[in-house]
């Protein structure tokens, strides 16, 4: 009997040791992917939004609140992208570590400069984000900064592993710079595309292609028949290279446009895990750039 109790106790100690790793909760899959690059298996990462979900319209499910309850650090996209559910998750988590202003509350957008920041905004313009375009993760420049920020934040709450995080950050930077050479070699400069949502603006700036039209007349507003007609006219004149859509936005409108104009549709993963080949952030970018070519 004593032996059994002893075994149980040892077991418990072992399991608590296994749980000593830093508990990271991220909203979006790409944030989890960057955290994984920095912390590898010393992090226990939970991602709340599934890759097939629209990050604008998730719900604060109790399971998300529970995950946040257990988190040492909570990382999110910011720029109001998660405004519909994030404040509730954070408050209802009853977890003081991840409240705004604490070390365990990491708004990843603080490390980047947002683009398309409107000088004035009201909701007649659709779901425009007053802080700028929140889809900043498809940019190596931004990701380098976010990776640095995540590494610093992890070192802040887990100082014992600082050198580990730093060396992983360095090797991630090296990998990224190596990839960047390949990506910039691809001649996407001057290509023109029509897209569903303002997902690829940061990438367009980085690789020199253009987005010349949107299926959504305004962000978050589905297209009317009139808008589609106008778009078809415009596309017939300008002959863009492709129509880009993401897995979660669906292909319905894109296929219709393609049928009417002969411009082909390309479905791109918008986040890590949204296609089989987009296993992490680097392969996500690889997949997108390969598909764009």
């Amino acid at each position: 009997m004593k032996k059994i109790i002893l075994l149980l106790l040892i077991n418990m100690c072992l399991s608590t040791a296994a749980f000593a790793e830093v508990k990271v909760v991220t909203t979006l899959p790409w944030i989890g992917s960057i955290a994984r690059e920095i912390g590898k298996d010393r992090l226990d990462i939970t991602t709340l939004i599934k890759p097939n979900q629209d990050p604008h319209f998730a719900e604060a499910k109790p399971s998300m609140i529970l995950a946040a309850r257990k988190a040492d650090i909570f990382m999110y996209n910011g720029l109001d992208l998660e405004i519909g559910y994030l404040p509730r998750i954070i408050e209802s988590s009853n977890n003081p570590k991840i409240q705004p202003g604490k070390r365990g509350n990491l708004d990843c957008s603080q490390f980047i400069e947002s683009i398309e920041k409107p000088s004035s905004v009201d909701r007649s313009m659709g779901d425009v984000h007053p802080l700028g375009n929140p889809h900043y993760h498809l940019s190596s420049k931004n990701i380098l900064k976010v990776a640095e920020g995540i590494s610093a934040a992890l070192s802040g709450i887990d100082p014992g592993n600082t050198s580990y995080y730093n060396s992983n950050l360095q090797s991630f930077k090296d990998d990224l710079n190596e990839k960047l050479k390949q990506w910039t070699k691809k001649s996407l400069k001057g290509r023109r595309y029509v897209t569903n949502h303002k997902y690829f603006e940061y990438l367009a700036r980085e690789l020199g292609f253009q987005i010349i039209g949107y299926i959504e007349p305004k962000p978050g507003i589905p297209p009317s028949a009139g808008h589609i007609e106008e778009l078809i006219e415009m596309m017939k004149k300008t002959k863009p290279d492709a129509i880009l859509t993401t897995a979660y936005s669906g292909k319905k409108e894109a296929d219709l446009l393609s049928l009417k104009t002969g411009v082909k549709v390309k479905v791109l993963p918008h986040d890590v895990g949204a296609s089989d080949s987009a296993r992490d952030w680097l392969t996500l970018m690889d997949t997108i750039i390969r598909t764009l070519e």
């Binding site: 604060a60 705004p100 202003g101 007053p130 669906g250």
Partner: protein
């Protein structure tokens, strides 16, 4: 001898050569003087150029300083606004306004509607006016107070004036998964009770809530403690101490001091990535003094309300979802019923239940829903002086609705109620056309 001749010869040679170069030295000296003068001139010129350059440098520096002064200093990155609580207002609280307005019609006359109560349950009639109704314009204010508290206020403004419906703080810094809410707030009892009317899936509250807690649910002054343990699945435990001012369940004069208490638990699992269930029991108990049992009466005693709620949500994408929601309420009441006209008092025991089941299906911007409501499903005891009273048929209601949501900030809803709750055999056929619009800060939605 030989040395002498050699030295003389050397001297001679020297003399000859020096004589031969004598005129040459003079010309070279003058040439040197000339070059020195020229160099002096070039130095002067160069100094002039240097002076000019210095002046130019000074100018550009001044310009740079002026430019820097014109430009505001870039804020350090950590000072950047985060999007967590909406950032457009950094010092002001977040403010939003929700307009809830509807047009209403019924086959019954306005007088019949006013008198249409639920006999044996509540004497509250129907307040809707035929034609245009303004439910309210609800003002929401919320913001963090400091690193320890968040503050919320709900101020519905109706035609009769403004009302402080909710005003409460929530702690954010307590350890061990604890949180305290205090002030005036919607009780965590059940499922629908803590939701704001504009967030309901139908225009009106289910019959069970109308009968046992009134058309607005239980909103009380008091304090709430919740505990979220770090278990493998979501379990929230809550307890409340409330003043007990709800007109139907308690009553502000029932007892001086707080006299209502709530306990609730919620559990939730994700069945798949896209489907979730949420369920839990609740209990609310307290002292009662109310005139809502029947007209010209006053009831004094104790009331206990038990609740069981269940919600299932399936949401495979943003364009499609299905919700099934149900609650079962059971109320026990024990005390004395006074006839305020005849001035007689009789003991009254009520043990009654109520149930609703509703389902909403969403496709793109459209939602359709159906709801079934019933009272006295398993238990309908109204025992006055030992005799169970019969008030007629079982009260029930069936509702259907269709909604169009242009964006998440606007909602247009058409609802039909087939209402048999008055127990007199008459049907109230109601039609609502409701408009809900929200402006201002983006509030986070409850699950």
């Amino acid at each position: 001898m030989e040395i002498k001749t050699i030295s003389i010869m050397l001297i001679l040679v020297c003399a000859i050569t020096s004589q031969a170069y004598g005129s040459d030295i003079e010309s070279r000296l003058s040439a040197l003087e000339k070059t020195i003068q020229q160099q002096g001139k070039t130095i002067e010129e160069q100094q002039k150029v240097i002076g000019e350059l210095k002046e130019e440098l000074k100018k550009t520096r001044k310009e740079e300083i002026a430019r820097a002064e014109e430009k505001p200093m870039e804020e350090p990155k950590t000072q950047k606004a985060t999007g967590l609580f909406g950032s457009s207002a950094l010092t002001n609280p977040n403010i939003s306004l929700v307009l809830n307005t509807f047009a209403y019609t019924s086959n019954l006359s306005q007088k019949e509607l006013e008198l249409r109560n639920i006999p044996g349950y509540t004497n509250t009639g129907i307040e809707n006016r035929k034609g245009f109704n303004l439910d309210s314009a609800e003002l929401f204010l919320f913001a963090p107070v400091d690193p320890y508290f968040n503050l919320y206020a709900t101020i519905p403004v109706t035609e009769d004036g403004a009302e402080l419906e909710e005003a409460y703080f929530v702690t954010t810094a307590l350890p061990y998964g604890l949180q305290i809410k205090g002030g005036k707030f919607k009780s965590g009892f059940g499922r629908i009770n803590s939701q704001h009317p504009h967030a309901w899936d139908f225009v009106d509250i289910p019959l069970a809530y109308k009968a046992f807690s009134g058309p607005e649910g239980v909103t009380e002054k008091g304090v709430q403690l919740t505990y979220l343990p770090p278990l493998p699945f979501y379990t929230l435990l809550g307890a409340e101490i409330l003043q007990g001012e709800n007109d139907i369940l308690f009553g502000s004069d029932a007892k001086p001091g707080p006299h209502a208490y709530t306990l609730f638990a919620k559990a939730s699992f994700d069945l798949t990535d896209n489907s979730t269930i949420l369920f839990g029991p609740s209990i609310m108990t307290g002292k009662t003094k109310t005139d809502s049992v029947a007209d010209d009466t006053e009831f004094r005693g104790t009331s206990t309300l038990y609740g069981l709620d269940f919600t299932y949500k399936w949401k495979p994408s943003k364009t499609q979802s299905l919700t099934v929601q149900s609650e079962y309420l059971y109320r026990r009441q024990n005390g004395d019923l006074e006839d305020t006209v005849a001035l007689t008092t009789e003991p009254l025991k009520r043990a009654q239940d109520g149930f609703y089941l509703q389902s909403i299906y969403q496709i793109d911007r459209w939602r359709v829903g159906a709801r079934y409501d019933v009272l006295g499903l398993f238990k309908d005891d109204y025992i006055l002086s030992g005799t169970n009273q019969d008030f007629g048929k079982k009260p029930w209601r069936a509702s259907g609705m269709v909604e169009f949501n242009p964006t998440e900030f606007s909602r247009i809803r058409l609802q039909y109620n087939h209402d048999k709750s008055a127990r007199d055999g008459k049907t109230n056929q109601e039609l609502f056309l409701q408009f809900v619009f929200g402006i201002g800060a983006h509030g986070a939605h409850q699950f």
